[in-house]
C-alpha cells in the first residue's frame, strides 16, 4: 500500500529555467510565454485523452523548466502532428513544433519512456531514409510488426496478407538512384543539439 | 575601431509619428539608438532643403515620418510631403546617394511597433552601405 504513495511536490531546485529559455529560442516556440493556459490545445487534441500530461500542461512544464517531466512524458510520443492545437491556439503558440522539439531532445538524451514503440520506429525510419532515400511510415510499421513482434504478428498478419493480395505491400526495399547525392546533402556538420 | 554607427536625422510629424515614437517608449520597445528626431507639426513642413542640409552636415540617412494617407491632422499635408519626396528622391539619387538613405514612412499614433521596425531596418541597411561618402562626381546621364 505504502508503495503506491508517491511524493508529487515539485522543488524549485528541480526546475531549469535556462532550459526553458533555450527551448523558446526556436521560431514559433517563443510564443509559449504568451500561453494563458486556456486548454484549447488539449480540448481540440484527438489524443489528449490518452496523454499523461495534456498539451497545456506540457507547455506549463516547459515554461517552468521541469525538463525531466517534459522530456519523459508520453504526451510527446502520442502527438500525431495533426496541428489541430496549433491551428486553434488563441495565442498562436506553435504547440506541434514544441512537441517535435521535445521529441528530438528526448531521443538525443534517451529520455523517452521505456518500451514505448514510437521513438524506436522514428529512429528506424530515420536510418532507412538516410540510407535508401525512400521509405513509408505506414509500410515500416507493418513490416516492423511483421518482423519483430511475435504477438502483434498474429493480428497484423491478416492485414499483411490483405495488402499483399491487393498489391499494396512489397517487402522489397525501394531506393532512389542517387543515394550518394542525398547522403552528401545530409552530411552537414552536426550543429548544436536542436 | 568600433562598428560604424549610422546617424539618421528623423523628421517626425507631431500628431502621428512623433506620438508613435512616444508609444514605442511607453511600451518599452527597444530599437537602435541611431535616430535624432526633429519634431515638426506636419510632414508637409519638411522642406527639401532640410534633407539636403542633413546630408551635407554628415547624416548617413534621413527618415521622414507622417500620418497615413487620409489621416493627416491637417487634411493633406502628408500628400504634399509625398509629392515633394518623389522629386527629392530623384535629386538625391542623381547626387549618388543610395535610395536606402532617404525614406518616407506613414506611421500612425498607434503604431509604436512600426517605429521600431522601420528604425531598425533602416539602421541595418545603412550600416551595410557604410558611411555616406561623397562619390566621385559621376556624369549625370539624364
Amino acid at each position: 500500500m505504502l508503495a503506491m504513495i508517491r511524493r508529487k511536490m515539485k522543488f524549485q531546485r528541480e526546475a531549469d529555467p535556462v532550459w526553458a529559455d533555450q527551448i523558446s529560442q526556436q521560431p514559433g516556440i517563443d510564443r509559449i510565454w504568451s500561453c494563458v493556459q486556456c486548454g484549447t490545445c488539449s480540448g481540440t487534441c484527438p489524443l489528449s485523452i490518452y496523454m499523461d500530461f495534456t498539451p497545456r500542461r506540457v507547455v506549463a512544464l516547459v515554461r517552468e523548466g521541469f525538463r525531466g517531466d517534459a522530456l519523459g512524458c508520453q504526451t510527446i510520443w502520442l502527438c500525431a502532428s495533426c496541428y489541430s492545437c496549433t491551428a486553434h491556439c488563441p495565442q498562436n503558440v506553435h504547440i506541434t513544433d514544441l512537441m517535435y522539439r521535445l521529441k528530438r531532445e528526448a531521443i538525443q538524451y534517451r529520455m523517452f519512456p521505456k518500451r514505448f514503440p514510437i521513438p524506436v520506429l522514428a529512429r528506424e525510419f530515420f536510418r532507412l531514409v538516410q540510407r535508401h532515400g525512400r521509405n513509408s511510415e505506414v509500410w515500416l510499421v507493418v513490416r516492423m510488426a511483421l518482423k519483430s513482434n511475435p504477438f502483434a504478428l498474429l493480428s497484423m498478419a491478416k492485414y499483411g496478407f490483405g495488402l499483399l493480395r491487393t498489391g499494396r505491400l512489397s517487402l522489397r526495399q525501394d531506393r532512389i538512384q542517387r543515394t550518394k547525392e542525398l547522403q552528401r546533402e545530409l552530411s552537414a556538420p552536426q550543429e548544436e543539439p536542436q | 575601431m568600433s562598428e560604424f554607427e549610422p546617424k539618421i536625422v528623423a523628421f517626425f510629424c507631431n500628431w502621428c509619428t512623433y506620438l508613435a515614437a512616444d508609444l514605442a517608449g511607453t511600451s518599452r520597445m527597444k530599437y537602435a539608438p541611431n535616430t535624432r528626431v526633429i519634431r515638426v507639426m506636419c510632414s508637409g513642413r519638411v522642406d527639401p532643403q532640410f534633407i539636403l542640409e542633413a546630408f551635407a552636415r554628415g547624416a548617413d540617412g534621413v527618415l521622414i515620418g507622417g500620418c497615413h494617407p487620409n489621416d493627416c491632422h491637417y487634411q493633406e499635408g502628408n500628400y504634399k510631403a509625398l509629392r515633394r519626396f518623389y522629386a527629392l528622391k530623384e535629386i538625391v539619387r542623381q547626387m549618388g546617394i543610395e535610395d536606402e538613405r532617404l525614406r518616407l514612412e506613414w506611421i500612425s499614433a498607434a503604431e509604436g511597433e512600426r517605429v521600431k521596425i522601420v528604425v531598425n531596418d533602416m539602421v541595418g541597411k545603412i550600416r551595410a552601405l557604410g558611411p555616406l561618402r561623397p562619390k566621385p562626381q559621376q556624369e549625370v546621364t539624364a
Binding site: Y83, R168, E191 | -
Partner: protein, 308 residues
C-alpha cells in the same frame, strides 16, 4: 463559378508521388494518373524523388527533415517546374513547411543552401507546392468537372474526410474549419455528401501501428460518426487516412462488436470513375473494406450516358 479553364502547364504538372503512393496508397497514384489523363492534363513524375521524411524525421532531426524536402524541391526546379503536385498529406505539409521555414528563418535558409551546394544540387527558388484537391478546384474548376461527367453516380451517400495536415496549419488547400471543396467536387459528379462534423479530425497517423488501441479508437469514431450521419462510404485525400480506415476496418469492427462495411475511397477514384475511367485503372480493386459495395457501385461496363 467560372467555367474558363486555365491553360495547362506547359509540360504538365510535376508530380511527387512519395513513398505512400508507391506502396499502400498505390490506388491513389493510379486514380490520379487516370483522372489527369481524362482531363487532358500532363503529369511528369519528379525525377529520382526521395522520401519527404514525414512526421518521424521531424522528431529526430528538424534540419535534415528540411533537407530531404529541399532536394525534392531543387530537382523540381531543375525540371523547369514552377509547381510541384504532392497528393500525400504528409508530403504536402513537409514540402510546404520547408518552404515556409526557408523563407522566414535565415538559419534554416543558410543550412539548406549550403547543403544543396555540397550535394551539387541547384537552388530551391520558388517552386510552389500544390495539392490535387486545390488544383482540381482552382485550375480545373467544379463546373468543368461537372461538364465532363459521363457516368451517373450509383453509389451511396458520401462523407468527405479531409484529415489534418492538408488543411492545417496552412490553409491554401481548403479552409481549416469545415472545408467544402471536396464536397463540392463530389456533388458536381452527382455523389451526395453528408454533413460530416469530423472531416478535419485526425486519424492518428501511424499510431494505429505503434499504439493500436489508441489509433484504432480514433478510426472507430471516424467510422461510427460517418455511419451515424448516413454515409455509406468515406472519401479521403490522404493515403494514410485511407490506409487506417480501410485496412483496420475489419479489426475495428471485431473489437467494437459493431458492423462496418464502409468503402474508403480516394476522391480521385470517384472523380475518375465519373469521368469515364475503368475501375481497374483507378485501383478500385485494391480496397479491402466494402469491396462488394465497390463492385456494385463501380460496374466496369457501365454504358456511357451523358449526365448533367
Amino acid at each position: 463559378m467560372s467555367t474558363a479553364q486555365k491553360p495547362a502547364r506547359r509540360d504538365g504538372y510535376v508530380y511527387f508521388p512519395g513513398c505512400a503512393l508507391s506502396a499502400n496508397g498505390i490506388a491513389y497514384d493510379e486514380s490520379l494518373r487516370t483522372l489527369y489523363r481524362l482531363l487532358g492534363l500532363g503529369l511528369r513524375e519528379l525525377e529520382d524523388w526521395n522520401c519527404c521524411g514525414a512526421t518521424a524525421y521531424m522528431s529526430i532531426d528538424e534540419g535534415s527533415a528540411f533537407l530531404l524536402s529541399a532536394r525534392n524541391l531543387s530537382i523540381a526546379h531543375r525540371m523547369g517546374a514552377e509547381e510541384v503536385l504532392a497528393p500525400c498529406s504528409a508530403c504536402y505539409l513537409v514540402l510546404r513547411k520547408t518552404q515556409d521555414y526557408v523563407a522566414h528563418h535565415p538559419s534554416v535558409r543558410r543550412k539548406v543552401t549550403e547543403s544543396l551546394e555540397r550535394a551539387g544540387l541547384g537552388p530551391l527558388n520558388t517552386v510552389r507546392v500544390r495539392h490535387p484537391l486545390e488544383v482540381l478546384y482552382n485550375d480545373v474548376g467544379v463546373a468543368r468537372i461537372q461538364s465532363l461527367t459521363t457516368r451517373k453516380w450509383r453509389g451511396g451517400r458520401i462523407a468527405c474526410y479531409y484529415g489534418c495536415q492538408v488543411v492545417r496549419p496552412y490553409d491554401e488547400v481548403d479552409k481549416p474549419y469545415n472545408p467544402m471543396r471536396m464536397d463540392e467536387l463530389m456533388q458536381a459528379v452527382g455523389a451526395p455528401t453528408t454533413d460530416y462534423s469530423l472531416k478535419t479530425k485526425c486519424c492518428g497517423g501511424s499510431l494505429t501501428g505503434t499504439t493500436a488501441e489508441v489509433g484504432l479508437r480514433l478510426n472507430y469514431i471516424l467510422l461510427k460518426e460517418a455511419a451515424r450521419k448516413g454515409a455509406q462510404a468515406i472519401v479521403t485525400i490522404c493515403p494514410l487516412c485511407q490506409f487506417n480506415l480501410d485496412v483496420y476496418q475489419k479489426e475495428i469492427a471485431r473489437q467494437s462488436g459493431e458492423r462496418f462495411d464502409m468503402p474508403v475511397l480516394f476522391f480521385t477514384q470517384v472523380l475518375g470513375w465519373a469521368l469515364g475511367g475503368e475501375p481497374r485503372e483507378l485501383g478500385l480493386h485494391r480496397s479491402l473494406a466494402g469491396q462488394s459495395l465497390i463492385q456494385r457501385w463501380f460496374a466496369a461496363k457501365e454504358e456511357v450516358e451523358a449526365y448533367v
